[in-house]
Symmetry: D2
Subunit: 404 residues, 4 copies
């Protein structure tokens, strides 16, 4: 069997929700006649989402959401299964953008976006596709931020479902998914011990707290940096240190960024790092760690291990950057654990079905899926684990509604 | 020194936010001429809130929010410091209610409520006080639920600030406060080992997750029961077992309720408990554990230790109930840790100041304090701990707002 | 029912091993005709050990191992049940010593000691009792250290069983027992928040690591001080900070000592403490925290709460000492959890039975109980929890013994 | 740069103890004229140990301790640096054994062994080498068990230093090393979520508790199986479930073996596994999980991912075996973290120096290094982390020695 097919087979065993959805809608094919354009980190799990949508009747057109995250063997396997794929792992930004364009050329009814690139292009260079576009489902914190900014600027033209804002997404994907996969990637690429080390986590949002939690679970001492005072107090009460980045860098064995923002480290911060410090980004784009500043401060740059770049700084210290500052769990690992993506992709699928049914009456705004969808996904997950829960008695329901 | 005064002195050392507020407003006395009616668990920390409000100029009138939670020595010390106190630890519900009435007789401008009793009475039996009442600040999850039900029924007549819904309240008080104080109370009253035991936590809201977190931190195996599937999945991913109460009771060494609901255990559940099982309530009222059902199933009832009642059930097993099913951390302990209440009471104080300034333009609805208040309280807390945090650079602020 | 009796009844429910031993030996009365002198912290659990030994036939004579740890109501209840008790809570050291003497006056065959006081007196002032004394069972790390020093000096005259050195003792009593009961005592006496605080644990032996583990489980950041480099590295890998006490005191919200040594804090250390810092001892004697140094440095001393003494230092800062520097879990709490003492007391009972059977052939040395006793106690504990475990197959047994 | 050299360069940055030893002995070359035969998992870290011994003057001859754990690029790089290497990754057991023989052909003065293979051969087929052999340093629990059995049988002919029994080895390598690297390997090879899963850990020795600790830190619910009742009680108090394997397999998502024994799962156990269960061995040899039983029970066997073999059982369920049942962290990962091996290899180096100095007066027994070596290694580690610790005052030293 080819490796791409093998990979997809493997993930299919641990995605019970997508399998359940396929079973549930097997006869109905609700997406018949619908074109879904997907911009994703193309690997086995996202491939299985594409296949699931195809089973529901959709024509699925896939491209990568990042020039380096496409796994070519998986792309090949997807093509063999009849999905249109415009994606190739490449360092060439032009090729990457051309592939985004090719997806838009298919005039999708719906877009599944990861980071908002495809949607932003549809609203700028390629407004021709807006005519046919009925809705967008966006998965990431960063993408949602961008599309909310687009909405705020008055330029958003189609309804967007912010899958990221569903509880079954951000409580699990951002926290447990990022938490595990970030450390998986750091460990496998460095072979360094985590226990007893000082890990600086920049940002204590859902991603950051997952990273901090797992670092602590691996025996590290965690230092959190934040700009939000409420989150800072929370980090302290969770047992972590909080301090400004300026001080934190002096202590760090690892710095992991998850702010969703740019330039998390200043030039001064980089020069304050200890010799041998390791930097990794688990936020979204490769702007969190300012790679160009690193390059500028370096007198030498070398490949230390695959996915590990060494920078000999002008002050004589060497620091290491993982995955060129890109999302470390995707660019230097296998991304989120399979079962986590199963939750997120169940939501994605329901988001498309929701948009299909409701788009006519929806305004061009950023929406969150109704809580019933979260509950449905959660119940499916519990069922897949053979876990049963209680339900309110009639007396309890009345009690909750009373005020006397 | 008298014990009441000693207790207040002690807490005053560990409430830096109330002290800071007193300093900040020392000259201005913004509450001059204002009467604040407080229904609280009257002990040293709430007493210090009353004193702080008095320092801000208010006339403060205090009663208990629970017939058994008043500490008489603290009440005495408060009186000596010029606060009007209508409160006495008592088993007599009539006395308790008469004291609530006496507070209303003072025709308060604002009410600080704990559980909503005072506010509900003002809207039913004592509507005469509504004329002068300008607003209510309610602290608890349960109280907020009641007042939202009151609002929904169309009967709410004054604006209510749901302090419970402020992040600096529920993220800390409900989670870390309840978490610690519940186990403090269980340990001190039973002297039982927690490590290696099975603890059933009913409800995985903020209180429940604090209780589960600390149980786990003390070495217990935690089983969570829930009615909300999203929370159930979260509990599982947090490393806990989830099952229906019916099964959980068979394994439980301890059952701790934090549902905010009634009748968390059925008759069948109680009879399924193991011999020696210990029951405690850390939710709000003594309805979570159905005491009357216990009484009915018992062939003998005895005091096993102070605050511990033994019930010999008709099936021959003996189970133990802490604090008669009342809030175990208050009725059989000292309530939340001091520093936690400092956060909540800073919010309470700001809630009164907020209502004072804005009540004229507020509708009779349940409001949450604006996020700036959370941020202010959080910054005060960080400052009191000598913790500094980062702030966004101009470039970062612009980055967050952009969508390109 | 009297409180002493009530307390003993309560603990009897949660000491399944002592109950099992009573059942097992109910008919045989192996200690018939034997006098056992016990020096113990006299409270409900130790009382139940005395009663168990009496059920096995022994004449039991009890005194306190610490002038302040005797609970008079329990002593009274024990007397009513026919045990000879020479113990009274007292601040008078003479009374305390007279009681020790009275136990020796009974010419015990065996001594159960806690800290080694009774045994040391028998080897110095009261060598008259050595003639009849057949063996000693000592429970604590400190006591064992003293008796090993006595052995090393060539002056030990009877065989000693170091119960402390049995796995079923030090792995559980010192770690989980001290860990839980220390924080129980600190929380109940101070009502302070543990989460987010800095806790300095002096000493990373079994007690120290239990204290550190539970502090961390309650949300604190732990700093360990050590003199042993191996333990220091272990503390670091366990996720804790390690630094010299001189630096640690500057950061400490709580300092908890568990070194088994004296003068853990210097004068300079005390003056470096933060205003409001809390000191507690969870080691053995009240020499770990140098109380006399505190007294000397103080310009004022006051009772801040029961069991909490405030010292206003000459530098203007106030620090608080719990339980006068005595063992905080005993002097200001209820001691170890019941189930933990059940393990330790099962070992104590087996130690006496072991000495009874083997003393004639034992030299005057410090012995550890054979591993079979640990295994027996562990199997009893597992059985009491309805836990079954695997056993080696014949093939596995052979595999372990082979070298090919 | 070649990959082998790159790998060695990388680890050299994070092995401060080996670097410190090289510096300390740079001029003296204490191993001049000495031949050291090493049987190791040949990868970058062990290569760096070989290079360190060479820097101390030794002639080093290296072979693999496992047919599949040799990394050929590292072997190549070692050869370039002048080390004699007889090792190649191979599935051919004959080639593997021939390489062991070639090392013995060099008539080593000392052997560094991993699992005891080389030493056992020297005592059976190749007794000719015993004449020149002066001592052995053995690193693993399993190897030490074998060599102790050899000693017990009266056939051991040279002194053996059981490096495994040094605190700085088993407290760190077995616990934190195995703990981290096992989960690193499982995660990277499966991409499965750990949080919320049930992990069965067979064996609660130092390896097992490291595996359990990290599983828990990654959010799993841990079930421990044991044959030792004391360890079983400890696992319970650490918050884990304990049950017989027969029951555990029914619940397991992952089974990780670390018993040091054979046939940890029976045929019945394998058939009781859930569909999709994953099996991994983190003990020593590939006998813990009975691969031949799996093969016999399977109706189909397939490669599911690299290092993951799927077995379709006759009952229709599919279970997955990692790394063919070999040590998962070595055969399907990069072995222990670098800094952990730095500790173990510092001990190995000191063991050779100790044997060099003392072998003439040592009997053919299994020895543990004196505690001073542990302390020296620990102090070196602390120094490398810039951590200082306290030391006993003269008064404290005397206090510890006194018994009065």
């Amino acid at each position: 069997m080819k490796t791409g097919e093998m990979k997809i087979n493997w993930v299919s065993r641990y995605m019970p929700l997508l399998n359940e959805i396929s079973r549930e809608f097997s006869g109905k094919r609700p997406l018949e006649g619908v074109t879904v354009g997907m911009s994703i980190h193309l690997e086995a799990k996202t491939a299985y989402l594409a296949l699931t949508l195809a089973k529901l009747g959709a024509k699925v057109v896939v491209t990568g959401s990042n020039p380096l995250s496409t796994q070519d063997d998986v792309a090949e396997a997807l093509r063999k299964k009849g999905i249109t794929v415009y994606a190739k792992r490449t360092h060439d930004e032009d090729v990457y953008r051309q592939n985004l364009m090719k997806v838009l050329d298919e005039r999708p009814d719906f877009i599944i976006d990861d980071g908002g690139d495809l949607t932003v292009i549809a609203h700028t260079e390629r407004t021709d596709v807006l005519e046919n576009l009925k809705g967008v489902s966006e998965e990431t914190t960063t993408g949602v931020k961008r599309l909310k900014a687009l909405e705020k600027s008055g330029k958003l033209k189609v309804p967007v479902v912010a899958v990221n804002d569903s509880k079954m997404k951000f409580l699990f994907d951002n926290r447990y998914g990022t938490g595990q996969s970030t450390w998986d990637a750091i460990m496998r690429n460095t072979n360094l011990l985590i226990a007893g080390k000082r890990v600086v986590v920049a940002g204590y949002g859902w991603c950051g707290r997952g990273i901090a939690l797992r670092a602590s679970g691996l025996g590290a001492k965690v230092i959190v940096t934040e700009v939000d005072p409420v989150r800072a107090v929370e980090a302290i009460m969770d047992g972590f240190e909080v301090m400004p980045m300026k001080e934190a860098v002096k202590l760090a064995d690892f710095v992991v960024t998850a702010t969703g923002n740019t330039d998390v480290l200043t030039e001064e911060d980089i020069l304050s790092l200890k010799d041998g410090a390791v930097l990794a980004n688990a936020g979204h784009f490769n702007v969190e760690i300012p790679v160009e500043t690193l390059e500028r401060l370096a007198v030498e740059k070398f490949e230390a291990r695959p996915n590990v770049t060494g920078y000999v700084l002008k002050n004589g210290k060497t620091v290491f950057l993982l995955a060129e500052g890109r999302l470390v769990n995707l660019a230097a690992g296998d991304g989120h654990p399979i079962e986590i993506m199963d939750l997120s992709f169940a939501l994605q699928t329901f988001a498309i079905l929701y948009l299909l049914e409701n788009h006519a009456s929806m305004e061009p705004r950023v929406y969150t899926l109704p809580p019933e969808v979260d509950e449905k996904v959660a119940m499916m997950k519990l069922k897949s684990m053979n876990v049963r829960i209680d339900s309110l008695t009639e007396k309890q329901r009345r009690y909750l509604e009373s005020w006397q």
